[in-house]
Amino acid sequence: MTLEAGAPFGAAPPSDDHAIVTEGLTKRFKGGQIAVDALDLTVPRGSVYGFLGPNGSGKTTTIRMLLGLVAPTSGTYSVVPLPQVGALVEGPAFYPYLSGEANLLRYDAADPTASGRTARARVAAALERVGLSAAAGKRYRNYSLGMRQRLAIAGALLGPRELLILDEPTNGLDPQGTREVRTLVKEIASDGTTVFVSSHLLAEVEQMCTHAAIMRTGRLVAHGTIASLNGGRAPRLRVETPDAADAARVLLGLGLTAVAHEGVEVSADLGGHAPERLNAALVEAGVAVRGLSVVRPSLEEVFVGLTGEGFDVEG
């Protein structure tokens, strides 16, 4: 197979509703190891799509296939044509002996649709957007880790983009830098640009994204809107009591739904009820309340439930 012009460039773009569509996308490397296994992914235009998974679950290989760097073993994919895609793949890579500005000009010159006349303006705008204008003339070699990451994001922002593919964009950034990237992603998304962001940090995806897909050992284990992934898991009330059956009856009587009891624990969807009023009602009804808490589900639980593995959840 020939990967001419980075494959997706010039290939049939996806329909107007989608920025990325893959069907049965599979990559088997020499040696038989399957990196991506029959991936069906649909990224709606305008979404901020989180691509979650532990390290080594096939996220980067998928992104490389979307960019035409790696040929799929089988399956199909369609993506927004490449010049309208900004990408950050597996960390920044630049020429250490060039300045930040010269580096961006170099990548800009490689884009056959970019005009040389407006290149400097484009580069200056991209640098300003990530707050690197002051360091534009500094050699890349002397950039800090955070500056390098930001320069890579600036590279992804050269020219008008319909789709931004960001592979672990907050890697190596300090908390301040992480916040800045998050703000930037939201800003870009509010311009109507679709953002496809891979991460192994759940909190990050939960805060930035409208949609998410979860990968595990090359397979897609869940996908959908963040709300749907939370599985209608509204906040739940948990009561610890020896009188579980009584407690369940009281809660039902108060209009709570999805009441369940098991042993000394009763749980129910909190709905719009105030936990302190519920506590008072339970005690009044003679239920011995040992403990009462409100559990808010997070993507992390979904994730751990689906992947069954320990997961780096810091950040």
Partner: protein, 336 residues
């Protein structure tokens, strides 16, 4: 922070009549956030650019040729600003000066000496160019070419910049063409630098005037300089054939030093093979066998037959290794 260049905004609005082509079917979260953060720019149709062809997406359309030249310019800028490459050019240009000075110092002792070209130099500075090219073409010049051409793709792969160039999207065939053309221009620079340094040194240190060719005919210096241009072209193409080999090797590895070393080893090996008389039968297939045939221009009339066989050999090498490099590079998984 600035959001998007104003010119793009303007163009998008005129092209789509300012009508907001909002993508339907978005999830509530993004819609609510979008309305919450709605700025003047957020009205822009997200899908408008796909309506325009990629060529029309910027205010000033870019032709494929000018885009190619811009990328080649960027490549040349990197190659000819890189201290390592400049140092190699400088070293190669110094060699004729050294040879010239040595010949000038010992020249008188060689009056009855080895004869041939070396003796000719003391009679006419023009011949220093031939001596110098003859000395550099077998090994030193190929090493410089191998460094630039061997580094071409493997160097980008090693630095990780290859994936960003291809995602730009540079296009694989296009990038390979730019890299090869850049290497050929470096070959031209190397050949020209040596020839120029030799001519200047020769004309400063030795007598100038009509050049007596090997056939005994004397031609004016101006004609001789024109013949020098043929020599530079011939040497450039000989080196360009080696550059094709080096770039082909460069597609096989992510370690530039590997491609460079392999090319240099190939040159040395073939030079050794050439020195073995029993292997005479394979000589026409060895690239270095043809490199030094440029002294055909010292015959009168110029021995074009010799030059043509050399050029055919160079063309065959370029075609063969160019095809290999293309086949390999356009089907390779970029995992660096």
């Amino acid at each position: 922070m600035s959001k998007v260049e104003p010119e793009v905004e303007e163009e998008l609005q005129t092209s789509s009549g300012g009508a907001a082509r909002r993508t339907p079917g978005l999830v509530p979260v993004s819609e609510s956030r979008r309305t919450a953060e709605l700025g003047p720019r957020a009205d822009l149709p997200a899908t408008a650019p796909s309506v325009l062809g990629p060529q029309e997406r910027t205010a000033d359309a870019v032709g494929p040729v000018s885009a190619f030249l811009r990328m080649l310019g960027s490549e040349l800028g990197l190659t000819f600003r890189r201290p390592r490459n400049l140092a190699m050019l400088a070293v190669l240009a110094v060699v004729p000066v050294v040879i010239g000075i040595v010949l000038r110092m010992v020249g008188d002792d060689m009056a009855d000496g080895p004869g041939g070209l070396i003796q000719q130099v003391t009679g006419n500075g023009f011949f220093l160019a031939f001596i110098s090219l003859g000395a550099l073409v077998p090994l030193l010049m190929p090493v410089a070419v191998a460094v630039v051409a061997g580094d071409a793709l493997a160097g980008e792969a090693a630095g990780g910049t290859l994936r960003y160039l291809l995602a730009a999207p540079a296009g694989r065939t296009r990038l390979l063409a730019v890299k090869y053309l850049n290497a050929v221009l470096f070959c031209l620079a190397v050949a020209s630098a040596v020839a120029l340094a030799a001519l200047i040194t020769g004309l400063v240190l030795f007598p100038a005037g009509p050049v007596t060719l090997l056939s005994g005919v004397a031609i004016p210096l101006g004609d001789a300089l024109l013949r020098m241009l043929i020599v530079i072209g011939y040497v450039t193409l000989g080196m360009a054939a080696l550059a094709a080999v080096a770039i082909a090797l460069s597609t096989l590895t992510e370690a530039p030093i590997g491609a460079i070393a392999a090319t240099v080893v190939l040159v040395i090996t073939t030079q050794v093979l050439r020195a073995i008389p029993q292997l005479e039968v394979i000589q026409p297939y060895l690239l270095p066998n043809w490199w030094s045939d440029f002294d055909a221009v010292l015959r009168d009339p110029i021995a074009f037959d010799d030059l043509t066989s050399g050029l055919l050999a160079f063309g065959a090498y370029i075609l063969l290794f160019g095809s290999f490099a293309w086949a390999r590079f356009t089907s390779k998984d970029i995992t660096s």
